[in-house]
């Protein structure tokens, strides 16, 4: 599929998805939503893609939902079902990023708001430029949280801080985001992509199945009790223990050399 609103690049096992609607602050319209869903499917199917970077073109990461086309729809006779829109757009994107059993890193180059903030939260790791800033945005237009911001944000930064971000709609700058634990690291703007790709390339050499199983375990950890989590760990270890990478890891440890993981 030829993408209209994203750039899709693959090198050294790293897929970089760049949101590319610079004149609209990389906001999501129906085309960007469809492109994103398709790109995530493509990454999922591609066994050589072993790490993913999501970033944005220009000054912004992603401003969330593009409100322009929405306003036109409000005024149309058939109106808008917000629930139906979410179920086929952000709900799909967020669920796919969380279910993707490969490391996904957000390289947050600028503003991330609303669904854009949700997308960064769904990624496994967040690297930010000093120019990055974060806003919940929903209250600002009298909406409720979506794109899993109600689920992921309290888990990342705590209920008190998430509530403050949601109720006040205040802009959070990069140093504050770092202090909150909303992002893992902050870099000078020119260092963001090189540093993110350095990490992504490293993760693309790691035992991908182990990373996938770790993500599966962490995802489930939010909804199960200790006994279930322990049983789940036993299952996942049963799977990991039978991968070729595990044998290679143990052999390399015994041979006192660096392991060569194939992601299998």
């Amino acid at each position: 599929m030829a993408y209209q609103t994203i750039l899709y690049d693959k090198s050294d096992g790293v897929v970089t998805i760049t949101l590319n609607r610079p004149d609209k602050s990389n906001a999501f319209d129906d085309v960007l939503i469809a492109d994103m869903i398709d790109a995530l499917k493509q990454v999922e199917r591609d066994a050589d893609a072993r790490a993913v970077v999501i970033t944005g073109v220009g000054k912004n990461f992603c401003a969330g939902q593009d409100l322009g086309p929405m306003l036109e729809r409000y005024q149309s006779p058939e109106g808008v079902s917000f629930g139906a829109h979410l179920r086929k757009s952000y709900n799909v994107i967020i669920a796919r990023v969380r279910a993707l059993e490969k490391p996904v890193i957000a390289a947050i180059n600028g503003a991330a708001a609303g669904a854009g903030l949700g997308l960064t939260c769904a990624c496994d790791l967040r690297y930010a430029s000093e120019a990055a800033k974060f806003r919940m945005a929903f209250i600002g237009i009298a909406l409720a949280p979506d794109s899993a911001t109600s689920f992921l944000l309290p888990r990342l930064i705590g209920l008190g801080r998430a509530t403050e971000m949601a109720f006040t709609n205040d802009l959070i700058d990069a140093p504050t985001a770092l202090q909150y634990g909303l992002v893992n690291r902050v870099f000078a703007p020119e260092d963001l992509l090189p540093k993110t790709h350095e990490l992504a390339t490293r993760l693309a050499q790691s035992p991908t199945k182990s990373i996938g199983l770790t993500k599966r375990a962490f995802n489930r950890s939010f909804s199960v009790d200790l006994e279930t989590a322990l049983e789940n760990e036993a299952n996942l270890q049963e799977i990991a223990g039978h991968t070729a990478d595990h044998i290679e890891g143990v052999q390399a440890f015994i041979d006192k050399r660096a392991p060569q993981f194939k992601g299998k």
Partner: protein, 258 residues
């Protein structure tokens, strides 16, 4: 005759049947159903087999009955052929436990097939549904009868009337499946469970299955009486004597199946 639609194998005392029409997501054709019916009946007669596992692929247990085979059918032709229910009935009369190991799509006739088994064990990717309504019919191999018994009337109505699917976790929460395992492990878990059942005294296993299946047929007092009869009869078996002797002597019992 060479099997074209299923693969049959054994793993110790466990009989394995894999639905094998990958190109059509294991759609249940007349030919497949006949092979399946033959296979389960043969395993039921084979004294070396004590538990049966039916499975498909990771992608699909079975996406349903073969629509292509039915699209031009008439009521009379459906009655005369009756390839669906005739072979589902053969499954119902098997006395040994049958486990359905389900991954991916388990829809329509596929869901009815899984529900005809004694235990459903699912992978995390399993999806269950009765989408017949969307093609102008209703479930025809037990879906309207077994699904409400498994998950309750209201949710069963919703699924059958809309054709919507439910995932493995919901199926587990509602009691349609006994357990959910990661997709990489579900088949092995089903085999492990089958081996465990196969290691139990076979006559007692058959009676236990029969008694539990009577739950859906009998009022409680008759069911309790039925259970008592089977319970009492088991005291005539050598395995009962062996089992209780081994328990008292603190050793492992050796079952004879008698």
């Amino acid at each position: 005759m060479a099997l074209e639609n299923i693969v049959v194998s054994t793993d110790g005392a466990v009989g394995l049947i894999q639905l094998n029409r990958p190109k059509v997501l294991n759609a249940l054709s007349g030919a497949l159903m006949i092979e399946l019916g033959d296979a389960v009946e043969a395993m039921d007669k084979d004294a070396s087999i004590r538990c049966i596992v039916i499975h498909g692929s990771e992608r699909a247990f079975s996406a349903g009955a073969d629509i292509d085979q039915m699209k031009t059918a008439t009521p009379v032709s459906m009655i005369e052929n009756n390839w669906i229910n005739r072979n589902f009935d053969r499954l119902r009369h098997v006395t040994k436990p049958i486990i359905a190991a389900v991954s991916g799509y388990c829809l329509g006739g596929g869901c009815e097939l899984a529900m005809s088994c004694d235990i459903i064990l699912a992978s995390e990717t399993a999806q269950f549904g009765q989408p017949e309504i969307s093609i102008g019919i209703i479930p025809g191999a037990g879906g309207t009868q077994r699904l409400p018994r498994a998950i309750g009337k209201s949710r069963a109505m919703e699924l059958v009337l809309t054709g919507k699917f439910i995932g493995a976790r919901e199926a587990e929460a509602r009691g349609l499946v006994s357990r959910v395992a990661p997709v990489e492990l579900y088949l092995e878990e089903a085999k492990t469970l089958a081996r465990e059942i196969a290691s139990k005294p076979p006559v007692a296993v058959r009676f236990a299955k029969e008694a539990i299946n009577k739950v859906y047929e009998l009022p409680l007092t008759e069911g309790l009486d039925y259970e008592s009869r089977l319970f009492h009869v088991l005291f005539s078996t050598e395995d009962q004597k062996e089992g209780m002797a081994a328990f008292v002597e603190k050793r492992k019992p050796e079952w004879k199946g008698k």
